[in-house]
Each structure stands twice: as structure tokens, then as C-alpha cells.
């Protein structure tokens, strides 16, 4: 009887230990610094190895090859770029050029070029005009005019998501047809401060209003987009608020009060992720099932790598003054005032 009790207690303890305490997986994720390349025309190398990747920040665009060498560099007041092409204002409109500098097409329309998931838009702020343009040939796909400033622009699956400061959100189809007009309401002051599309274009998340400021998630159902959850964020931002989908659309991140707040689509409960300073950005999927957060701390900028269950995998420091962060499957590009720092993520 006593032996059986001891055995049972041991079994319970083992089960608890297995499920409650994290275990080493054998190999730990690390970020290895690869290069620090100044973003200017003097650092451009003539040869290129493999496909190039665009890094864009604050009026500068650079293309980096597989060896993290800068193969092309462009600077303009308003510039937009992806891995295949870039757009910048010219004398009589906007020019789309190849990374090697060849002119692809000239669009005779003024505006600031904006790229969202390979879709190209021209936004004329004073006139409140948004135009979607085919980047292949410069064809104008549609134009919409708004009386209120644009605060959100995102695109997915040939759909465009627009948020306005007057509190309205729109989704347009590939030909500019209106798929959704939505006012989140529920706040003393109506406004849209942030928002994002999921990769499949079937979900959209919003940060809206003041007093209270609210998070709203909409999903596409048979009869259109419908709100599925909302909550007060406890914030009072009077500027743009970053919002994004990560983990294959299963999680939504937005800026909280000195934190990054995560909403999982399993239970829709907001959870603050552990960072020390002011959130600057995030990159999902740098390594499988991980989330990289970048924050500004008192003594510089910091990186935090979290597992799928938000367990801390890695923390590190980078020079202060990070202007932007982008990443792909394995490389992390951090644009700093000294240049673009490239880090390789791997398990060792």
C-alpha cells in the first residue's frame, strides 16, 4: 500500500515536471552578426551573388545579395521598394525601376509611392487621392478619393484595406469595388489609428477611437466581414499604432502601453509580451515558430526572441538608433544610423 502511494506520487510529480518546466531542446537559437554595411553609394559592390533583398528606411533603399553585400543603393525623399522593383517620384510623375537601375515604366501621376505586399499605390496626400497601379506596366487599376487623411494602408490577395482618421475603414477589391465600409464606433472620438490585413485577406485587425481606444478583429464570413472580437486596449495613442498578423495569421500583435500586446485567435485574450523598453517593431518566423521583438531601452536598443509559447529564447543588444527591422527565413536586417546590420539566426 505504501509502495503504491510512493509510486503514484512519483508518477504525478513526473507528469507535472514534464508539462510545467521547459526543457532544453539540445540546440539553442542564436543570432550571429554577419555584417555591418553603410547604406550609401560608396559601399555598392559591382558583383552580385544570388537573389537580392531590399531594405528600405527613411528615404533610402538598398539591395543586399546572398553575401550581404550592397549591390544597389537609391535615395529619394519618398521611395518604396521590394525585392523585384522600386518606385520613386520623378519629374513628371512616379518611375518604376529595376534594382539595376533600368527604367521599367513612368507613371504620369504625382503622389507618394507605397508598397504593400507587392501591391503598388500612389497616395496624393493634399488631394486625398489613393491610386492602385500595376507595377508591371504602370497601368492604373483604380482611384479612390478621401476627405480624411489615410492612417492605414494594407493589401493582401488583391484586396486593399484603408483606414481613415475620420473613423471609417474600407476594403476594396482588385478593381476598386467596395467590399467593406465599417465604423468601429464605441469611442467618444472616432478615428482609425492602426490596422492590418492577414496574409489571406480574410481577417483584418483595427485599433480605433479615443476614450476608449479599442482593438477590433473582423473575419470574412459568407455574408462579408464580421467583427469577431473587440476589447479596450487601455491606450491613448494619438498617432499611428503598429498592428500586424504573425504565426500564419494565428496571432495579432499591436503596440500596448510600453509593451507589445498579443491576441491569439484561440481565446482572443490580450497578453503583454515581455520587453523592457518602447516597442520598435517585430519580425515573425525568423526561425520556425519564433517571434523577434525590437525595443528601445534606456541604454540602447534590444532584441528579444520568443518561442511559440512566449518563452524567452534569446535577448541581445544592438546599437541605439535603429530605424527599421526586416527579416526573412534566416536573416535579420536592422537599419541603423551606422548602416545595415545583418544577423544570421540559427540553432547551435
Amino acid at each position: 500500500m505504501k509502495q503504491r502511494g510512493v509510486f503514484l506520487a512519483g508518477a504525478v510529480f513526473s507528469v507535472l515536471y514534464f508539462f510545467l518546466f521547459p526543457r532544453g531542446a539540445g540546440r539553442e537559437p542564436v543570432l550571429l552578426p554577419e555584417s555591418l554595411t553603410p547604406m550609401d553609394s560608396t559601399s555598392v559592390t559591382s558583383s552580385s551573388v544570388g537573389p537580392t533583398r531590399a531594405v528600405v528606411a527613411q528615404g533610402r533603399a538598398g539591395y543586399f545579395d546572398s553575401n550581404h553585400s550592397l549591390t544597389a543603393f537609391y535615395a529619394a525623399d519618398r521611395i518604396a521598394a521590394n525585392d523585384e522593383w522600386l518606385a520613386l517620384p520623378g519629374e513628371d510623375g512616379v518611375e518604376i525601376i529595376e534594382p539595376d537601375g533600368r527604367l521599367r515604366v513612368r507613371i504620369p501621376l504625382s503622389g507618394t509611392p507605397l508598397i504593400r505586399r507587392d501591391s503598388l499605390y500612389l497616395y496624393h496626400e493634399e488631394a486625398g487621392r489613393l491610386t492602385q497601379v500595376a507595377p508591371q506596366d504602370g497601368r492604373i487599376l483604380w482611384t479612390q478619393n478621401f476627405l480624411s487623411p489615410l492612417t492605414v494602408l494594407d493589401a493582401a490577395q488583391e484586396r486593399t484595406f484603408v483606414g481613415l482618421l475620420d473613423g471609417r475603414a474600407f476594403v476594396f477589391g482588385s478593381s476598386g469595388d467596395l467590399l467593406l465600409e465599417y465604423r468601429p464606433g464605441g469611442s467618444r472620438i472616432e478615428a482609425i489609428y492602426g490596422g492590418a490585413f492577414s496574409d489571406d485577406g480574410k481577417s483584418l485587425a483595427l485599433i480605433s477611437g479615443l476614450d476608449p481606444q479599442r482593438f477590433v478583429l473582423l473575419e470574412e464570413r459568407k455574408n462579408g466581414y464580421r467583427p469577431v472580437t473587440h476589447h479596450d486596449t487601455g491606450t491613448d495613442f494619438r498617432r499611428g499604432v503598429p498592428v500586424g498578423f504573425v504565426a500564419g495569421g494565428g496571432r495579432i500583435l499591436y503596440e500596448g502601453n510600453g509593451s507589445v500586446t498579443a491576441v491569439d485567435r484561440v481565446d482572443f485574450i490580450p497578453r503583454d509580451l515581455p520587453i523592457e523598453g518602447y516597442p520598435l517593431g517585430w519580425v515573425g518566423g525568423l526561425l520556425p515558430d519564433t517571434l523577434m521583438l525590437l525595443d528601445r531601452q534606456k541604454d540602447g536598443d534590444g532584441m528579444t526572441l520568443l518561442s511559440r509559447d512566449d518563452l524567452l529564447l534569446y535577448t541581445g543588444k544592438i546599437p541605439s538608433g535603429a530605424l527599421g527591422i526586416t527579416g526573412d527565413g534566416q536573416s535579420l536586417y536592422i537599419d541603423t544610423s551606422q548602416g545595415v546590420a545583418t544577423l544570421e539566426a540559427m540553432k547551435q
Binding site: E125, L150, D166, P242, G281
Partner: protein
């Protein structure tokens, strides 16, 4: 007696406090509401860049402050937006917000500085879902304009209409005339007169010298223009012709003086079919 004086002061203060404020000096106005801007049009009025302080048009609450460097990556000019009573929202594009900008503000409060590229002021009526011409909401600028209203008129043949606000004018081609155009209040010498109708410039004359003819001071243009084409029988300046078609519009006269100062005066005109 003392109470009456206090009441009078309170009423006077109340009346004045009701009027809205110009967010920038009216003399700095460079473009009107709806003026063509590349391949679009302006949703507000434009002011010249000087790095000057910009003030709130009315009491309200700051609901947006920023623009550049926002995490959203929507590039734009710096923007301050203020929500006002009765559903009005004023937008100050190209204004860098001052660091200690409060959320609750009173009219005339300091919002920020004008950016070097100039700045734009627009007002939206959110209850009616439309833009408002900001000039219609602001105090008249006549006391700041160096010409008296009586000296500016529209002329067509023998017909003459002295310009005042909200006048009715038959449609057709009219010539704008300015009496005593060489003399500006404050002693300035005009170097350029421009006339705008519906936001588009329709006439402009530049001057580079003053001459005396028959005891009258006249202005000379750098280009050769016939005297009869520039001055009328009484020595009034004939600025140019404007085609007024039926509808309501704003006629604006701008003048630059030799000190580089720009001044403007506008009139809202109802044009009826003749």
C-alpha cells in the same frame, strides 16, 4: 454704473472670444481652398513657409500629432489634427508639433512650427461629411489689406460694381480696376498684382519703376504694355479680364510690395446668368 461696465466688458469679451483665430498670419496665405495642385486640388488653404508658430483655429482636442516616422510607415507631412465642438475637425499639414503639446487646447494655443515646405490648413465638417472652405470660417482680413475696399471694382463697358462681400454680378467678361494702385497703406510700393478666380490665377501685372506723369505717380512694367491697356481714364489700374460664369466663387486680389511682403483680399461673389 460699475456693474454695467463689468457687464459691458463681459459681453464685449464674449463676442470677441466667439470669433475664431487665424492659425497663421493672413498675409502668408499663398493658395486658396480648391486650388489646382499638380494633378489634384487642395483640400485647404496654403501658407508660406517661414518656420513660424502655428496656432489653433478654435478650442478643441488634439487627436493626431505626428505623421513622419510613425511606425505605420505611411509617409506624410507632419500632421496635427484637432477635434472641435459641433463635429468640426481642423487639419494642420506640414506643422511639426511642439514637444509639450497638450491634448486639450484653446483657440490661439501654440500647436507647432510651420515646416520649410509650407503648410496647409483644412477644416472638415464630420457631421455633414464635407470639407469647408476655411476662409469662410475665419475673420475677414480687410483691416490687414493695404487697399480700401472702395478702390477695387469690376467693370464691363459702362457697368461698374464696387467689390464687397456677397455681391451679385451678372455673368460675362469683367475687368478688375484698382484706384490709386501705386499707394499702399504703410508706405509700401507695389511690385506685383495678381488676380485669382476659383483658385486659378487669371491675371498678373509686375512693376519695376514709378514715374510721374501729369502730376500723377504711375507704375511702369518691365514689359512694354500700352498705357491704355494698363490704366483707365482716371488713372485706375486695369489688372486684367476675368470670365465670370454663373455660380458662387471667390475672387482674390494679391499684392506684393517692394519689401517682399505679400497681402491678399478676397470677395465671395454670386454670379447670376445675364
Amino acid at each position: 454704473m460699475k456693474h454695467s461696465l463689468i457687464c459691458l466688458l463681459m459681453i464685449t469679451f464674449g463676442v470677441f472670444s466667439y470669433a475664431q483665430e487665424w492659425p497663421d498670419a493672413p498675409e502668408r496665405l499663398t493658395a486658396l481652398f480648391g486650388h489646382p495642385d499638380h494633378d489634384g486640388y487642395s483640400q485647404g488653404v496654403e501658407f508660406a513657409p517661414e518656420g513660424q508658430r502655428i496656432e489653433s483655429w478654435n478650442d478643441g482636442e488634439v487627436i493626431w500629432s505626428g505623421g513622419l516616422n510613425t511606425p505605420l510607415d505611411v509617409p506624410s507631412r507632419s500632421l496635427v489634427v484637432v477635434a472641435h465642438p459641433h463635429g468640426f475637425r481642423s487639419l494642420y499639414r506640414g506643422v511639426d508639433p511642439q514637444p509639450g503639446l497638450e491634448q486639450e487646447i484653446l483657440k490661439g494655443d501654440w500647436l507647432g512650427y510651420a515646416s520649410p515646405e509650407g503648410w496647409n490648413f483644412s477644416v472638415k465638417d464630420t457631421q455633414r461629411g464635407c470639407l469647408v472652405n476655411p476662409v469662410d470660417l475665419l475673420p475677414v482680413r480687410e483691416e490687414r489689406f493695404p487697399l480700401s475696399r472702395k478702390t477695387v471694382a469690376l467693370r464691363r463697358g459702362k457697368d461698374q460694381v464696387i467689390l464687397t462681400d456677397s455681391i451679385q454680378v451678372p455673368s460675362g467678361v469683367w475687368t478688375l480696376t484698382i484706384q490709386d494702385a501705386a499707394n499702399l497703406a504703410g508706405g509700401g510700393i507695389p511690385t506685383e498684382y495678381s488676380l485669382y478666380w476659383l483658385g486659378q490665377r487669371v491675371a498678373q501685372v509686375r512693376f519695376d519703376a514709378l514715374v510721374e506723369a501729369d502730376g500723377v505717380i504711375m507704375m511702369e512694367t518691365p514689359e512694354a504694355i500700352e498705357f491704355q491697356g494698363l490704366y483707365g481714364a482716371q488713372g485706375e489700374l486695369l489688372l486684367g479680364s476675368v470670365v465670370l460664369s454663373a455660380g458662387r466663387g471667390t475672387l482674390e486680389l494679391r499684392v506684393k510690395d517692394d519689401a517682399g511682403e505679400s497681402m491678399a483680399q478676397s470677395w465671395t461673389i454670386q454670379v447670376v446668368s445675364s
